[in-house]
């Protein structure tokens, strides 16, 4: 059965979500793919509370946009998603830009809550579809949010993994280093290495990222799409819509 790249990524993310105990996931301004992954985990029966920041009707927060940060500060968010204009080999995130501060060469939108959420959430899954030496760099131009912290600085969690359009990396915070876990269909360890600006380790059992099953695809294109339509109409039209119309 054929599938869209976004569907493969949503399934890969969903496996990472359920791989660790997860009671509450918050999804922010990141790509809609993490939201699809969360819904997929929920629709498969995972007992997860899902807080979607940008949900217009039935938004989970009643104390305004500060509530997400307040409850994350308390440790009530087990998992958050972040991306980055640049991500480096120590899992530092750059959402500021390149060139002289504050991004005089290329300006990205800005750091959003990353400087707080990355350190206060129980863990973070990094997601960036573009996998190129331009995005995955040896050292970010500016640090919006640090991948690891010094002793004496309160930090609750780190990156669990980095999922891109080419592969899945795990992250080892003790060593500050990514480990290649699986490559997506059509990719190899060599093709990933050629497209990655930072050095990384390769897991002993590195394999291919599993393709979505028919059951997963049916959930994504049905109940998951229905949940996402209001918040991400453009995404739903592009990824799920063509099939619905066909």
């Amino acid at each position: 059965m054929s599938f869209a790249p976004e569907e493969l990524l949503a399934c890969a993310l969903a496996r990472l979500i359920v791989a660790r105990p997860t009671a509450h996931v918050a999804v922010g301004a990141a790509s809609p793919v993490p939201a699809a992954a969360c819904w997929l985990a929920v629709k498969r029966g995972a007992p997860i509370r899902l807080s979607l920041l940008h949900k217009r009707s039935g938004n989970p927060f009643t104390e305004g946009s500060r509530e997400l940060f307040d409850l994350t500060g308390q440790g009530r968010v087990d998992l958050f998603f972040l991306g980055g204009g640049q991500i480096d080999g120590q899992a530092n995130l750059n959402l500021i830009g390149t060139g002289e501060w504050p991004g005089r060469e290329v300006r990205f939108p800005g750091s959003f809550g990353s400087a707080f959420m990355y350190m206060m959430a129980g863990r973070t899954i990094l997601f960036r579809e573009e996998h190129s030496p331009r995005v995955l760099v040896e050292r970010v131009a500016h640090v919006s949010a640090p991948g690891v912290s010094e002793p004496g600085v309160f930090r609750r969690g780190h990156a669990q993994a980095l999922v891109t359009g080419k592969c899945v990396f795990a992250f080892d915070p003790a060593r500050g280093r990514f480990i290649l876990e699986s490559v997506h269909p059509g990719e190899t360890v060599e093709s990933v290495r050629a497209a990655t600006g930072f050095g990384f380790d390769v897991a002993a059992g590195v394999g291919e990222t599993p393709a979505p099953t028919e059951g997963e695809l049916a959930l994504l294109r049905g109940p998951v799409r229905d949940e996402m339509l209001e918040t991400y109409p453009e995404f739903c039209g592009r990824v799920f819509g063509r099939r619905a119309a066909a």
Partner: protein, 269 residues
């Protein structure tokens, strides 16, 4: 009760103006009115990020500085006039992170000089904020960031309704309440004025801002458009996409603004 144009006239050049972003009741109507009055040197504060209204004001040449945690048009992509202005160096950008902006406003709300906030240490945002400082926390001994109280000159947002007593109803968008509490003046545009008093209604009172904090109200029907307003109307994606396309260049923005900001107002759809 004043008119929209009177409200815009009451915002002095150079004022620190706090605006909520596209998911949280921005007054696009007031932003357009500020552009029409030719406001200059405004310092905008994104609460906690910035969107369409901020990009519009930058494009219209009203802005000297933006303090924000991010500026974007959501699904329509990068904010084109913000991005161009950063590259050209024509505005000063003061980068923050969302909970820091909330905390700085909450400090003012509480009348205390600063608020501590975890996280941030190790971010270059901190290195570029000489007004933020790191202390050893009492009680825990951890290193923690202290953020100064921030008091905007003006809070500007758009609410579904105000009542005859001057109270404003914002529902669950409580950041607008914090913003009103923390600002010297709160200027609120509304869809409509309704009879009665929200504070006497147990269902409405928790989503209301008391008139104590509201300096002026102006009626502006569809005043959040093209941004969504709670459950009253949706996000006009086609309008924002057209803006994003045209505002890529200064000339394109000028053409867009001539039609959408400066032309005599058409009847709202």
């Amino acid at each position: 009760m004043i008119t929209l144009e009177e409200m815009a006239a009451s915002v002095p050049d150079g004022a620190l103006v706090a605006l909520p972003p596209d998911n949280s009741l921005p007054s696009v109507a007031l932003a357009k009115a500020l552009a029409r009055r030719g406001a200059k040197g405004l310092r905008l504060l994104g609460v906690p990020v910035s969107g369409f209204a901020t990009d519009l004001l930058i494009g219209a040449g009203c802005v000297a500085e933006v303090q924000t945690s991010a500026c974007s048009l959501g699904e329509a992509g990068f904010a084109p006039r913000f991005t161009a202005a950063v590259k050209a160096g024509t505005i000063r950008v003061v980068d923050a992170t969302c909970p820091a902006i909330h905390a700085m406003l909450q400090a003012t709300e509480k009348g205390v000089p600063f608020m501590p906030l975890r996280g941030i240490i190790g971010s270059d945002i901190l290195a570029n904020r000489p007004d933020w400082t790191v202390i050893e926390a009492p009680f825990t001994g951890e290193r923690i960031v202290c953020l100064p109280a921030l008091e905007p000159d003006v809070a500007a947002f758009h609410a579904p309704m105000a009542d005859e007593a001057g109270n404003v109803w914002i529902g669950r968008r409580r950041e607008c309440a914090t913003l009103a509490h923390a600002s010297r003046r709160a200027l609120v545009t509304v869809e409509r004025i309704v009879p009665g008093n929200f504070l006497e209604d147990e269902r409405l009172a928790p989503g209301a801002i008391s008139a104590t904090y509201v300096s002026a109200i102006a009626v502006a029907a569809r005043g959040a458009h093209p941004v969504a307003l709670l459950d009253e109307y949706g996000f006009d994606a086609a309008y924002v996409a057209e803006y994003a396309r045209m505002a890529r260049t200064e000339a394109g923005f000028a053409e867009w603004a001539a039609r959408e900001v400066f032309a005599p107002r058409r009847e709202a759809a």
